[in-house]
């Protein structure tokens, strides 16, 4: 159905014309946004912000000002409960820079130029562990929000490989072989980072990127072993020839982060990806993203159990 929506969108865009309009969109309500995550072996990290009116300014200051300080954020795993510490990008604990930069999607060098505060704890007792459930409590401006997530058992790939696409010899997709556990719900997230050096002498990607449709569950393939592929999300700019778009060139080195999540987080991620693919598209139903947070808040509290593979693009 998503492909149908995508196809129809293309068809109508081909035959139509578009212009910017200003129209009354009633019903704006400011809401708290909780963006929290915890991964295997990593500390919890929570960003708190507020939603903005659709016509509100979208400059850098507006973005930075949406992040909120002064919340009391607590994470517990059933045995240990820890209040998270508010840390800001201009005053990070030594050694946490790369972790925070990865979470914020900026390079370590750019950290100083953005002023964002979040909540975390480097207490090893609250770092993510497989099989544990993590409860989050946020007290902010007199309201309390709670959420719960689990770090589920990971399912690593049997193999990862690269092969040229079609008649090409130098470009191809990244492939993987997956053996899905039978008889249980499994949901996956594919992310990728190119770590080989670019022309500037730096790694090609600062952080992990998501390809088109990176979240999926095992409804179609419960218990099956099969090969599948994903495209190169960084290979779509205009400088790349049409026939090489979405492909990895021979010689790229990738780190594939293949994460699993619980059902609630999957529901959030699936609807989020759907919204990213179809937001504003009339051929899709408007999708408000469900979340696992009690109270009138947006966002998610998400546990992930990633497996990592390194793939060198060579036959």
């Amino acid at each position: 159905m998503r492909k149908i929506i995508y196809l129809l969108s293309i068809a109508f865009i081909l035959f139509s014309c578009t212009k910017e309009v200003v129209i009354d969109i009633p019903g704006y309500k400011e809401q708290i946004v909780i963006d929290g995550r915890i991964e295997t072996g990593q500390p919890p990290f929570v960003l708190i912000s507020k939603s903005k009116d659709i016509y509100s300014p979208t400059d850098l200051n507006a973005f930075l000002n949406s992040f909120q300080s002064g919340a009391i954020v607590t994470v517990s795993n059933g045995t240990t409960s820890v209040q998270l510490t508010e840390i800001c990008t201009d005053n990070l604990p030594p050694g946490s820079e790369s972790f925070i930069a990865e979470l914020l999607g900026v390079s370590v060098a750019d950290l100083a130029s953005v002023q964002i505060c979040g909540y975390t704890s480097f207490d090893p007792l609250i770092a993510g562990e497989i099989g544990k459930t993590y409860n989050l409590t946020v007290n902010f401006e007199g309201e309390t929000f709670t959420a719960s997530t689990q770090i589920v058992q990971p399912t690593p790939f049997d193999a990862v490989f690269w092969k040229p696409d079609g008649n090409l010899t130098t470009h191809g997709y990244s492939w993987a072989t997956l053996s899905d556990p039978a008889g249980q719900f499994d949901a996956y997230l594919w992310e990728v980072k190119r770590i080989n050096l670019g022309a500037d002498g730096l790694p090609k990607d600062d952080g992990f990127q998501k390809p088109f449709g990176p979240v999926f569950d095992d409804q179609f393939f419960d218990g099956l072993t099969f090969d599948f592929f994903f495209d190169n999300p960084s290979a779509y700019d205009d400088s790349i020839s049409d026939k090489f778009r979405g492909l990895y060139p021979l010689g790229d080195t990738l780190v594939i982060k293949f994460s699993k999540m619980d059902r609630d987080v999957y529901e959030f991620m699936e609807k989020k990806e759907l919204q990213l693919a179809t937001a504003g598209n009339p051929f899709a139903t408007p999708t408000n993203i469900p979340n696992n947070i009690t109270g009138d808040a947006l966002g998610v509290w998400a546990g992930f159990s990633p497996s990592y593979d390194t793939l060198i693009c060579q036959p």
Binding site: T18, V21, I25, D35, L103, F220, T287
Partner: protein, 799 residues
């Protein structure tokens, strides 16, 4: 209550026996030029002020006190013909009208004009196909659906939107019949053109108000389209070559005056244009679109009392999208196949029977492939139907109809298959839902006195969902999913109900009339739509144990008056409509597979209502003809699981809807037409706020359908030039120049769609671009417009 109602109805049907002896005049009215039966011709005896109108098969029956009468025969757009008839006993008279037909420069007062005030038809409009053909046509394609969208109370979803919306009802609530067979998807090219080829159509009748009891299965309206029968006198060919399509129709007698056939075909050549426009080495070389359709009809008079008709329609749309660079290909075919076999039998001058067997098939597919991955989605419906309908004319005061309807439905809501190289994914068993829908009905149109006429009817409908079927019951966190399997023939759910229908007309002394109507309808099929615009991806879904039948009631009241010796027809109607068991998808639902699930598990149920006032002014005679229709209305929906349970505007809620349609016949060679439309903008749901999660910008949507697009307005004009019907020829014997009728008749229709190039909104979306951290991030609301000014030329011919 039910018993009282039935007794009430039968008390009118078992009629008063007149002390005076009566005789009946009955038969068929046919067009002398083609031999085709005429629908809606009027047979009138002025001395007793009694009349009858031919039915959909051209049959009439008129009972009057025995005697000699001068009988008038009237047919739309022609002079009245008169004949003296001795009715001392029953007379069968099959009458050919229009033998002396002369094309006249202006349209005479239509026989149907008086019907505006005199009939009990509430909210019913008949359109002449000739009238439709003179109106401006989008890209030169004469379109019945687009024309009825110009009538008050009827609107389109959006520019090119599929289907039509009648008095606040959804597009699935219209019973669209082609020669009595149901048409589920009446649109080509995502709704830009209707499936009805105007060259193959004989008559169009829209019932948007009080639906008579012989119609059922839908809540809002009936659109009856009857196909031409074919010329019984001579062979003929007609067609047209237009900007995007061409048409060809061949008709002729199977046996002169006994039987005839007509075959009409149409095909677009957008695919040829696209192939020429897209180079072979372009990555999009695999992209194309075309549609075609074929109409076929045959009829034969077996005896004076028996006729058979065979009608068929087959049409298909083929849309392909290819990207060679990515080895990516999508094919999306969809289409209808329809067949109807009918038998008319005249038991007596007072009893007419029609038996119909129908088959309707609608299929939609979506096939995509990329490298080794292949995906296919199918949905469709196949109906097998039967109908027996009797019309009984016991005397002049009564016209009784009764009969039985039956349909066997086979629905395939969504069937998915997927493969990746040698791996076949488990997409579950294709789900087919089968059901029996049946009804019995009786109605009587009778004159209580000179002024008061009532059309009262009762329909009893039944519906059985039957196996094989697997019902999946979704559990929650603590409860596992379960299922119930039904074997073939098992009755899963049974619904039934009475559907009373009443319409009355009260003639006032000043020749105006007041009409009122009430109808209650059950509808056992639903259309589920994900999008703000209607598409072939909308899925038809039957009533099940979870999805209850839609129930609707409508009441209307109108004042009707003609002016200027019936040249000007006017009416004002108010209506209120209530609808229950409407369906929508749950928020965020995406139907995609059928593993351990049923489509109706994704649905939510609610109610709706609509009310409004409609003004209609029509001039149907003279050099200048046309109409003005205006509707003021409000349509809302309320679903417990949507919009926090609060009522919200339906997506096609329109406060104002105005249509002005005019046609001027300058002379025998030129007709000029224009149509202006103004409508309040459609509603839609747009995001009210944005937020950021894990570096992604996300939107939060506000109340459902709380945003309204800019108003829609447009002016279309057309000019049609007709070739001379006669040529001058030198007669050697007399030495004079004489006029000889040309065998070939042609016309050229020039249309301009959207004359002042209004950028009407098709939809709005919120676009975002740039990067926050780079400081160039922007959010904009954008409007997509489909059609600018579009001129077109169509050449039509007939010989």
């Amino acid at each position: 209550m039910r018993n009282n109602l039935i007794t009430f109805l039968f008390s009118f049907i078992i009629t008063v026996t007149f002390s005076q002896e009566n005789s009946t005049l009955s038969g068929y009215i046919t067009d002398a030029r083609s031999g085709e039966t005429v629908i809606g011709a009027k047979i009138y005896i002025p001395s007793v002020k009694k009349g009858a109108i031919t039915n959909n098969y051209g049959f009439y029956s008129l009972t009057v006190p025995s005697g000699k009468y001068l009988v008038e025969f009237r047919m739309g757009g022609q002079e009245t013909e008169k004949k003296e008839i001795d009715l001392s006993q029953d007379v069968r008279l099959d009458f050919e009208m229009g033998a002396d037909f002369q094309d006249i420069e202006e349209v005479t007062v239509d026989a149907k004009a008086k019907e505006n005030t005199e009939s009990t038809k509430v909210g019913q409009i008949e359109l002449s196909i000739d009238e439709i053909k003179t109106l401006p046509a989008f890209m030169g394609e004469v379109d019945i659906i687009k024309t009825i969208q110009l009538l008050p109370g009827v609107s389109s979803a959006a520019e090119g939107g599929q289907g039509f919306y009648v008095r606040g009802g959804g597009p699935d609530q219209n019973l669209v019949l082609l020669d009595e067979a149901i048409v589920y998807n009446a649109a080509h090219l995502f709704g830009f053109f209707s499936v009805f080829n105007a060259d193959a159509v004989k008559s169009v009748n829209l019932i948007k108000g009080s639906m008579p009891a012989n119609f059922g299965g839908r809540m809002s309206s009936v659109l009856e389209v009857n196909m031409n029968e074919g010329n019984k006198k001579r062979f003929g060919v007609k067609g047209g070559i237009g900007a995007i399509s061409s048409r060809l129709t061949i008709e002729g007698p199977l046996k002169k005056d006994k039987g005839s056939f007509i075959v009409s075909a149409r095909r677009t050549y957008l695919d040829v244009i696209m192939k020429a426009a897209i180079p072979d080495d372009s990555p999009f070389a695999g992209t194309s679109y075309f549609f075609y359709d074929l109409n076929l009809k045959m009829n034969y008079e077996i005896s004076k009392k028996d006729k058979i008709f065979l009608s068929g329609y087959y049409g298909k749309d083929e849309f392909s999208f290819g990207n060679l660079d990515d080895n990516f290909q999508i094919d999306m075919p969809w289409g209808n196949g329809i067949a109807a076999l009918r038998w008319n039998h005249i038991f007596s001058s007072k009893l007419f029977m029609n038996v119909t067997a129908t088959m309707t098939d609608y299929q939609f597919s979506f096939i995509s492939s990329q490298d080794q991955f292949r995906f296919k989605l199918n949905s469709g419906i196949r109906d097998w139907g039967g109908k027996v309908d009797f019309t009984y004319f016991p005397n002049t005061r009564h016209k009784v109809k009764f009969g039985l309807d039956y349909i066997y439905h086979i629905f395939t809501p969504v069937s998915v298959s997927a493969e990746n190289d040698d791996t076949v994914f488990d997409t579950g068993e294709p789900q087919r839902l089968t059901s029996h829908e049946s009804a019995a009905y009786i109605l009587d149109e009778f004159d209580i006195n000179e002024n008061l006429r009532i059309n009262a009817g009762l329909r009893y409908s039944m519906y059985q969902q039957v196996g094989p079927f697997t019902r999946y019951i979704k559990g929650d966190v603590s409860t596992p999913d379960t299922s119930i399997t039904y074997k073939k023939g098992d009755v899963i759910q049974f619904y039934n109900g009475l559907e009373p229908r009443v319409a009355l007309r009260w003639m006032l002394p000043d020749k105006s009339s007041i009409k009122a109507g009430y109808s209650y309808n059950y509808q056992y099929v639903h259309l589920t739509s994900l999008s703000a615009v209607s598409l072939p991806t909308d899925i038809w879904y039957p009533t099940t144990d979870i999805a209850k039948p839609q129930k609707g009631w409508q009441t209307s009241l109108g004042y009707f008056r003609n002016f200027l010796q019936n040249k000007l027809e006017t009416s004002v109607e108010v209506y209120y409509k209530g609808m229950n068991n409407l369906i929508e998808y749950k928020e965020g639902a995406i139907p995609g597979d059928n593993i351990n699930d049923n489509t109706d598990n994704l649905l939510v149920f609610g109610k709706g209502w609509s009310y409004g006032i409609e003004f209609f002014l029509k001039k149907s005679s003279g050099k200048f003809t046309g109409w003005v229709g205006y509707t003021l209305s409000k349509t809302e929906r309320e679903f417990a699981d949507l919009n926090d349970g609060n009522p919200y505007p339906a997506k096609y809620d329109r406060r104002h809807d105005l249509s002005v349609v005019g046609s001027y016949k300058l002379n025998k060679r030129w007709i000029f037409s224009g149509a202006f439309i103004y409508a309040t903008g459609n509603t839609l749901t747009l995001p009210t706020s944005w937020y950021v999660q894990n570096q992604d910008l996300l939107f939060n949507y506000g109340e459902r359908n709380s945003t309204r697009m800019a108003p829609y307005h447009r002016l279309d004009i057309s000019a049609t030039w007709y070739s001379k019907e006669y040529k001058e020829k030198y007669d050697k014997t007399t030495g004079e120049t004489i006029k000889v009728k040309k065998k070939l008749k042609t016309n050229v229709a020039i249309s301009v769609y959207n004359v002042y190039n209004r950028a009407n909104p098709y939809f709005l979306y919120v676009d975002n671009d740039g990067d926050f951290l780079q400081g160039d991030f922007e959010i904009k609301v954008k409007q997509v417009t489909l059609f600018p000014i579009i001129p077109s030329v169509t050449w039509n011919f007939e010989f």
